[in-house]
Symmetry: D4
């Protein structure tokens, strides 16, 4: 059930098609991985389940598996050093899973990546000591569950584009991430880009597209 | 349609019954105001509409009307100086209406009140310059619409009880205040007390009950 | 995945950081517990899962485990007798779990605690016989699922601050606790402090902050 | 736009068809009223708008208009004294409009009616003094907005069938009556019959059907 | 965790307290069953889980277990023949579980019961052949999932009080029973009594209260 | 603000583009109408507001205006008699507006149309007397608000394709038509085609596309 | 718990009753299958669970089982070649399950079926290469999750009736298929027929009813 | 009620604070405009209401008013020609208002702007003829109501960062823009940046931040 794999997407949009692992038939996923390994090309799968790993267990040595990020791929590309750094900030301890999906995806899409984890708004002191590191970044991704307040604070301080990823971390009236999603859509820091709940991969794609634009601009400056 | 006015509520709970003005028949409200004015007793009405003011237009000189707070009352009591100061913080410019309902209600319930308005999280600098004033407060009420992020930040810094009031300020996916309401219920600063949307009056009542407890504790200390 | 533990939170806000157990990596939780046990300091974890207990099974003798409350901690502090009693009321039989989280959290945060359980509004007689005990309390926490009606009744009778915790007890149109949550936010007893669904711990934190204010007021009375 | 008026409904179900006034074309409503007046038969319209009244202004002397209940009819029948009394209880002052719709509808459907208004749960004392009157009633209708808590309390004390009508009274997280609707559907007093929001008429119809059953039972007892 | 069992509820309201089994500790449920068996009194538990049955496996011979209805009780009372028949109608095949909860509960509360199952509106012919049986009934309970349309049709044809129970049968935009719940609250047959989703027990309690009223009326007729 | 009018839509899909009137600038709508009148071509506008009519008041004699349906057009085409009859059924009196939008749209799209109005399920007798007329129809559109039950009944009896249009008729828990929308999506008569709330025009378009297919099939039969 | 199987439905509506497998008692399903096998008649069950297959494991050789579609039946009828082809288009790889339910159901209801799978809007190129095949189809079913955008594009290009099936494929703010459901109800291609989430069977039934109308029209053409 | 105007925001984030006009007191807005006019500095107000325009009617000649965009400002800056073009695409005719807010905001924030309006997915032909213009753009903003499908299509074809703005255009199950909002959050084109409903201004801010990054990158290229 992999279906028609969209092999021309990278040529068209700059971003290769990537397999979303959850719910896929392990045999189909194994087949396409074998095909790409043979051809020596990059293939990325996100939301990799234990069943998928099991189906590829004899091949894992030749693959790259990022357990926290739940990502599996055939190649580990070098970052493109003409690109800006993508800084990934996470709020609570449990938001890390989503933040790791963003980090690893961004790295595999060739962006330099920097992590600033566990700086939730309940202790702004932890956040404050990291403020200097902002200057290193070109684009900032912020992953937060519960009240989803962190992107507003980052967005009010930073000149970089800010990409907010609500996470499903929370319980009760969090409604699986609806609370931080609404919070981010209503951020009082205008211009915050919002992703679907837990969509760390999408944030990395947007960061990459922004970064590619900056590289193109640097390569052939206007004005 | 004022119904049975609950005259014993203050004796029972420490808080007098207060008329919620919206939707009430102006003639009924006029009648009860005349009655209280004659008896020289305090009567408070919130959410006072233009129609209610019109019905009492010949008596407004003898009454106290707080236009921003939409509150009308017969007497203006002195603050009880054995009480702690209630600090009312508001985020955006439009959250002031709700913040004023909280301030005036708290003052009429005899609490000393201090305002820290317009310190939304999109410009934490405005907030930072006020941090010293926190020490003056015994209880903090925070009114915020949009992302509802401010109470989390206050709660992570303050040792005072924090009462959060979501406001209906916002549009689109704010859903009339649902976004800040959910944000506050999921605050990553634990122990945040949440009120109904726009319920500045309720925040003042809770602050008063807390303040009365502190006064009782001071009057007859334990241990 | 414990992340940066916020060790200065107690100094800043009076409330220590507490580990939320659900979803945490058992090895990380074990490590931080071993660290605190060695240093002889208090560490509290809520929503402790069987997996976490398993990871600490060889240390449980030296720890305090409250099964109903799902709380684990290193030390069992004495209540602070300058504090007011926190009364925890629960409605239905199944609301007890949340009520126990509130009770144990309040006790670990050094408040004297009193339980009034199983006094739902379908049999107000059970409630009536407990009314005298109210006078003992400084702060009242009410945990209720289904119709969430109990806090309104308590709030209409009591002069104490009332903290309402909706529980996820119920089925169908309860929507996992949304029904009592909305009921409590719309309580006709003004000034009811509302917590997230099942958040007994948050109620205990708010009660503690109120209690600490009363103690400070008693220590240095105003006016 | 009155459409096909269902003239046989009373023969079939014991309840005549009744016109829901809101949104109807005033000329159509006038026409059907003239027709029934001429035939000397009972016609009832609920949710009567100012426009409908205007269209019938020259006939209002010969009609019965209940302003609070927003009901207009051609005849005022005597109560059927073989029926049980329908007691209508309302919580807050603004719930009266819905309660009046229930009262007038029940009376026009020939039930003896008794009103117990303004006994909301925030002051159970007002409720307590009315408890004796319960014995007079065969069926109890309870109208309440905000937390919708009153039917649970009535249902836990009364042996009569209890019909709960949530009202749209409230603001913010009341969501136009959703809060009391959910509260009533989750009432911890089992067997509470719930109506649509503001549907006082529906409550009166159900009460009438119950009362007719009781009359039939009395007329030809079983066993 | 059975809590304070409300032993006086039957004296007060005519309906005994009944244990809701889901989520209860099997040992507590066993203890209370042993107690009632010893005293020879009736005890009813609904939503009985396999765990509860397991805990009472050595006593099941002396108890009455209704598997489809998920009900367990100590005694099987005779129907009270002065009562009217409660007819329970179900729509789809899967609505039967809820319908059986209603039937068995009604029977244990001493009502004569008649079943008309599987007469959903997609084949009104199946319904039509049962129409004559309506005359036998005093009260009608209708259980339906999916579109929840059946109570409207019954209510438009019957003079009996109609109690509608939405079931969680369905998928997708059924939202666990919200679709039939809303359909029933908006029934175009006025006076339909609506219960919580899957609440067959509540329907039986309401039917019993109506039936008891009819019996009282028959015992001492008015007028 | 008419934008780029999609003049080739009819060639592509068989259905001309139609102007949705609400919110459009009256001057723009006037301009396009003048253009089409001059060219003698058909132009249809739905949801025509008083403002739009006002802007075209001097041209209304030369246009066709259907007040109930809120539709305005330049030409009144003959029905195509190779087509099947589209039967439009409406439930309550207020559903007629939407039903008329469906009828007039279907007629302007050249379908023979037949109306069966005001046959709601609360009085199936009114429906029953029309059953014979079903045989005349090729396609059935059913418009219903409130419980949205009528399409299930029609769909269980008819062999024709059934198109269900939920209307916003109702109040309270109707939520502006959500109740009948969900009811129809969960219809127990499988194969019911559901439209957006109040979308009588969309129903007419679907009926036309089905009818055009039938005409094509009749013109060049298969097999 | 199969209930009264509606054996006359096919005679009445042209569509046989079909068993919805989920939640049914395997013994009941086995019994009805044995009965139909013996009588040599067609019986179709959808949403067939592993438990149902297990209960019929000794009969599977004599039955037809479509694993992807989760459909089991006794006979495999020939397509009716007087019918138009039903084209089933699916967007993402995971939408195939629902698309297969539509395909197999349509085939068992005797329609010629053609599959165009995996042509989601993120790569319109994959869609573009299939455009020519549209001309072969009489009716088009489109199954899509996530943004549910595909039916709008198909509907803007095709003259065939378009039936849209939202799928529960997605996560986070997909809310189990609500996102594509709303998208389809609001399709800017007017006349899109919308089904319940994941209801591939319903789409096949509607396609069949449309196809039967076309066949009837071809058999006895009008005009 | 303008509150503390955040004058340092531009220095900090690159984006000046902008007044949100709706709900502001016209006198306050007038005062701040007079102040900025005197100082000769740029001040921008969005969502400008007729009341605000009225209050500044004597100054409108010296101000710039964009009626469709509902924006008022003191100065009209030249676009910065080192920046990339921001292309703004709109779907339906009524989406233009929001698209104009995005266009004017982007222009006032000094971006070169290009409009591609009225290219909704119901007529992809209108869209297709514009495809060449994509190459001119650095960043693409897409405004769409109803099904919100357009950003998915653009995102699947373009290498530029895509910013999606759902609009409240639609009715019924559009729920004021929720339908396109969910559609966009679930876009099958990964990396789509989503804004709040109708938030054209926010889209312009994000585009500006991206553009500023590209300019910085061009000014001091990496690698
Ligand atoms: N602004 C307000 N917000 C919430 N509750 C209020 C407000 N003002 C008054 N109340 C409460 O509303 C109740 C009055 O309701 P009523 O009897 O309808 O006038 C009293 O319990 C008041 O304490
Ligand atoms: N199936 C049921 N559905 C709804 N309420 C029930 C059910 N069974 C028992 N109850 C009620 O739930 C309450 C028991 O709750 P608990 O104290 O948690 O056992 C009693 O008031 C019962 O009357
Ligand atoms: N009453 C209606 N309901 C739904 N869609 C409509 C209606 N009237 C016109 N339309 C469609 O709306 C689109 C016109 O939108 P616009 O370009 O904004 O005029 C066309 O595709 C019409 O087919
Ligand atoms: N996959 C399906 N989705 C929706 N409805 C179905 C499906 N399969 C069967 N049905 C219908 O569900 C009904 C069967 O319900 P039941 O009597 O519970 O087996 C019949 O009317 C079928 O036409
Ligand atoms: Mg932490
Ligand atoms: Mg401001
Ligand atoms: Mg109990
Ligand atoms: Mg009152
Ligand atoms: Mg069946
Ligand atoms: Mg009618
Ligand atoms: Mg794919
Ligand atoms: Mg257009």
């Amino acid at each position: 059930m992999i279906g028609r794999f969209d092999q021309h997407r990278e040529a068209r949009t700059g971003i290769p098609e990537v397999i979303f692992g959850e719910g896929k038939d392990p045999r189909d996923v194994r087949a396409i991985f074998l095909d790409y390994m043979e051809r020596g090309e990059q293939l990325i799968a996100t939301r990799v389940t234990p069943e998928l790993l099991e189906a590829l267990s004899d091949k894992l040595d030749a693959l790259h598996h990022y357990a926290d990020a739940r990502i599996l791929c055939t190649r580990q590309p070098e970052p493109d050093h003409t690109r800006q750094t993508v800084m990934v900030i996470s709020a609570g301890a449990l938001d890390r899973r989503v933040a790791e999906e963003a980090c690893v995806s961004a790295a595999l899409l060739k962006n330099p990546v920097e992590r600033v984890f566990d700086v939730g708004v309940a202790g702004l002191n932890r956040f404050a000591v990291e403020l200097d590191r902002f200057d290193n970044a070109g684009i900032i991704i912020v992953c937060a569950g519960m009240d989803g307040a962190l992107p507003s604070i980052v967005g009010g301080l930073a000149r970089q584009p800010v990409i907010a990823v609500p996470t499903s971390v929370g319980y009760g009236a969090s409604f699986g991430g609806v609370a931080p999603l609404l919070s981010m859509l209503n951020s009082c820091s205008p211009g915050t880009a919002v992703m679907n709940i837990d969509n760390g991969f999408g944030a990395a794609v947007l960061a990459t597209k922004i970064n590619q634009l900056a590289s193109r601009a640097a390569a052939s400056p206007k004005g």
